[in-house]
């Protein structure tokens, strides 16, 4: 390649990336700086003055059992919900990965949960799961099942199921898309070899789609860790703080107790705790990324 072409490539690279770089500069670097700075500031809404506080917020945070409890709850919740959603989404994708009557319409309807804001979905759950006027408990009682959905012994499982109903649509969509990359000859070849459906699945399909499934898992769990809307509206993080996610903890600290400094330090700690996992996660993504050719 000629020298001028290389130079053109370089200029073009900068120009084409300019919007991304600007966006990162404006919305990543500046907010991260601001966030970190706030975390070292005594910044409480109901007090007139704001002043530097060194590590005060971090020291306070370490002694906040609620923060650590919410972290534990979040990780547990995110992991269980994600595993369940990936499995169910993949199973449904396998079901849909064939020709059957009404497929087009049913496929569209499968995606509807993605279209409803999690916050509105949560309000709807408050209604249809309401013990007194909700259709689901009403139906359960009619058929003689006595189950308290929001009883504190059941609330964790209930939240997981609701998460499942809402976000499986996303894992389903990605799993289904991934399955479209499987060449149909593979099924035929396997059939000729006399493999049954289960063997095809475990020996051919799953190994081939392992990278895709890993990506789906990661995309979903990263979103799960940020769970805020639905749990906040359904339980407010309670009773006490038993269902408090890190998102709810940070939100309440900042916007209900008005302690911006402490909330910012919690956010920084969360990122620092997740940082060690970033390289391996990024490596997963790079599986399907060729880099400069």
């Amino acid at each position: 390649m000629s020298v001028t072409f290389n130079k053109e490539r370089k200029v073009a690279g900068w120009l084409l990336s300019a919007p991304l770089l600007l966006m990162l500069a404006a919305l990543l670097i500046w907010p991260v700086y601001l966030g970190v700075k706030t975390s070292f500031t005594h910044d409480v809404l109901s007090e007139f003055a704001t002043y530097g506080a060194g590590f005060e917020n971090y020291k306070n945070l370490i002694h906040q059992p609620n923060f650590w409890l919410s972290l534990r709850f979040t990780l547990l919740y995110a992991f269980i919900a994600t595993v369940a959603e990936v499995i169910l989404g993949f199973a449904l994708a396998l079901l849909f990965d064939r020709v059957f009557p009404g497929k087009r319409v049913l496929f569209s309807l499968m995606l509807v949960p993605i279209m409803i804001a999690p916050s509105l979905m949560a309000v709807m759950y408050r209604l249809i799961l309401n013990e007194n006027i909700g259709i689901i408990p009403g139906f359960l009682q009619r058929i003689g099942i006595n189950f308290s959905i929001f009883d504190q012994h059941n609330v964790f499982a209930s939240l997981i199921v609701l998460d499942l109903l809402e976000f499986t649509a996303f894992t389903f969509l990605l799993s289904y898309s991934a399955l479209q990359n499987m060449p149909s000859e593979i099924y035929e070849a396997a059939a000729i070899d006399g493999a049954n459906a289960r063997q095809v699945l475990t020996r051919v399909v799953l190994p081939m789609l392992k990278p895709a499934i890993a990506i789906i898992f990661l995309l979903r769990i990263l979103d799960s860790i940020r769970t805020f809307d639905s749990v906040f509206i359904l339980t407010g993080g309670g009773p006490g703080t038993t269902t408090q996610t890190v998102g709810i903890y940070i939100y309440k600290t900042a916007f209900i107790y008005g302690d911006f400094g402490l909330a910012a330090s919690a956010a920084v700690v969360l990122v620092l705790l997740l940082a060690p996992f970033m390289p391996s996660i990024i490596k997963q993504f790079n599986l399907n990324q060729g880099g400069g050719k």
Partner: protein, 271 residues
Amino acid sequence: MKKKYGVTLLASIWVFIFLIPLLGALYTALRTDNAISSGPFVWEFDSSFSHFKNAMGAAGYDFANFFKNSIIISIGTVFLTIFISFPASYAIVRLGFGGPWLLRLALALRITPAIFFVIPFYKLFTAYNLIDSPIALILADSFINMTLALLVFSGAINELPLEIEEAAAVDGASIWLTLRNIVLPLLGPGMAAVGVLTFLFSWSDYLFAVVLTSSEATPVTVGAANFVTSYGVRWGDISAAVCLSVLPPLVFATAAQKYLVKGLSSGAVKG
């Protein structure tokens, strides 16, 4: 070929389960307030559709404005996200720009919880007087969505046969012409996938909307929550608002369904 009605039945059952919240909302929106508060099986329907009328503005809320805001925000986010991610993906994949680092940095964003950005964004947009403007939400939503967009685009560009672009280069076409005349048209499905997903995610955003808007730029998600009042939750009205709020994204996603799958399978989740 044998018709697989068994599969249809099984798929329908699952679709029904996933649609329960929406069907519940529709059922509630059609009933009278007395029926709603008396119990789930009180059959008393509201022949004047007053809940839908309330959701459309009769209740005093400016729902037309909420819908307008949601549409501005979602469509604005789609365009901005594509504008940011598409050229950058080409630069990263084909021009080797930024080595692997740029993409890694963008991916790290996805890992950083959105809540991390809430407080800085609030301060930043307040400082520039963008609070309660759709621009603030378009910027915030684009920022959150661009990671997935970069993934889809770089995957899809990687898939394109290099030979076509090389042939164009040999013919003397510049990078710009190649990008516009050859790469862009081939990336239709990827574009649709990014467009639809970005639209859906920004349509359903609540966290940024609740913090960054107050009244003028309020989208449907936050507006519908206004039916939760100090005189009780207006179940019928909020249900009608939910039913109506699903229509725009449903139409949008159904129209682009085929490209959504195609775009994702050649991009984000290529095995």
